[in-house]
């Protein structure tokens, strides 16, 4: 019994160290620079889409939204280290984000569809 219990704390330390190691790896400095270059390219793409909106036509808004989401995800995953960190942090952040999107999407929906049928809340010259 004594032998078994003597190793218990050491095993516990090892487990904790392993847990740390599991989410402690990030990118190298060069890796971060490559991520930043990718972000710069995506930003340039956004601006190009804005200026050449007549070429992209109805795809302008979806493309801008997709680029925005991709940039957002890259920064959160790599610069904010969430990809390599504990999943609990991801849940904390994504929980707030999802709650915000859900609440304000519901609010926006109600403002658009459930108020004055004439849409006075959104028209450039509301009648109300």
């Amino acid at each position: 019994m004594s032998t078994a219990t003597e190793t218990a704390p050491e095993e516990l330390h090892d487990e904790l160290d392993d847990a740390h190691d599991d989410h402690d790896h990030g990118l190298s400095d060069f890796g971060y620079i490559k991520v930043a270059l990718l972000l710069a390219v995506l930003t340039a793409a956004e601006v190009l889409i804005y200026f050449f909106d007549d070429k992209v036509g109805p795809l302008e808004v979806p493309m801008l939204l997709i680029l925005m989401v991709v940039k957002f995800e890259i920064v959160v995953a790599y610069f904010m280290h969430l990809r390599f960190d504990n999943k609990l942090f991801t849940w904390l952040f994504v929980g707030g984000l999802v709650l915000a999107v859900a609440v304000y999407a519901a609010m926006g929906t109600s403002m658009v569809f459930w108020t004055d049928p004439a849409g006075c809340d959104l028209s450039p010259n509301p009648s109300c």
């Binding site: 004594s2 219990t5 003597e6 218990a8 704390p9 516990l12 330390h13 904790l16 847990a19 740390h20 990030g26 400095d29 971060y32 620079i33 991520v35 930043a36 972000l39 710069a40 930003t43 956004e46 601006v47 889409i49 804005y50 200026f51 909106d53 302008e60 808004v61 801008l64 939204l65 680029l67 925005m68 940039k71 957002f72 920064v75 610069f79 904010m80 280290h81 504990n86 609990l88 942090f89 904390l92 952040f93 929980g95 707030g96 984000l97 709650l99 915000a100 999107v101 609440v103 304000y104 999407a105 609010m107 926006g108 403002m111 809340d121 959104l122 028209s123 450039p124 010259n125 509301p126």
Partner: protein, 226 residues
């Protein structure tokens, strides 16, 4: 007499050694081990920052959705008034967005440097990040000033109020971030923060990156999407 002797009986039975204080409770075999408190192995400070950032999503969600709902609203007087979207200077805002985006790179390089114990390099990246933030704020002040000179005051319309409130709140966040970065630089410079407290730099970095991702959304949704 009993298997579990009391403190008083232990003290009476065994003389206490000079270098050990009297035992307040009977010794057990577990007293030979280092006490390891229950832990998730996660930093409380870091978890608090993530919880704050999650809640800050609600603040900016409110401001962004309010702007989207009100951006086409005109004054109740019925007069046509300027909208912020009529005055946007996209090339200028693109450059300031790029500067803020690159400040995230220098921030993460500062975190990386202090975790390796390269304090001088960390200080350099922290200052660079703060300087880039200052450039962004200067650009925002210039933008606000030029808009105001064009006739778009804060109270001209509910649309302009929503625009200034949204971008102004973001500017306040950036300004607070600059103050935190400069404070961090001073603490690293004085040796108050060393490699053993690299997590402090990482936590401030999380805040700074959050400010950056909020701007990614604002730049696309407010400035670029018609």
């Amino acid at each position: 007499m009993t298997d579990t002797p009391t403190a008083s009986s232990t003290a009476a039975a065994e003389p206490v050694e000079d270098d050990e204080p009297p035992a307040a409770y009977p010794r057990t075999e577990w007293d030979d081990y280092e006490i390891v408190p229950p832990t998730t192995s996660l930093s409380n400070e870091k978890m608090t920052m993530w919880a704050f950032l999650g809640s800050d999503c609600l603040l900016f969600g409110a401001l962004i959705s309010t702007y989207l709902l009100l951006r086409n609203r005109q004054p109740l007087s019925g007069e046509e008034s300027l909208r912020a979207a009529d005055l946007f200077d996209i090339p200028f805002t693109s450059v300031s967005s790029f500067v803020l985006l690159m400040s995230s790179l220098t921030m993460v390089l500062a975190v990386s440097a202090i975790s390796r114990g390269e304090m001088e390099r960390c200080k350099l990246w922290l200052l660079t990040t703060a300087a880039q933030g200052a450039v962004f704020i200067a650009g925002q002040v210039y933008e606000f000033t030029s808009f105001y000179r064009e006739g778009l005051g804060y109270t001209v319309s509910i649309s302009s109020s929503a625009f200034y409130t949204l971008t102004g709140f973001h500017g306040v966040h950036v300004s607070l971030g600059i103050i935190m970065l400069v404070t961090l630089w001073v603490m690293v410079n004085r040796g108050i923060i060393g490699t053993e407290r690299a997590e402090t730099v990482e936590i401030i970095g999380l805040y700074w990156h959050f400010v950056d991702i909020v701007w990614i959304v604002i730049f696309a949704v407010v400035y670029l999407i018609p």
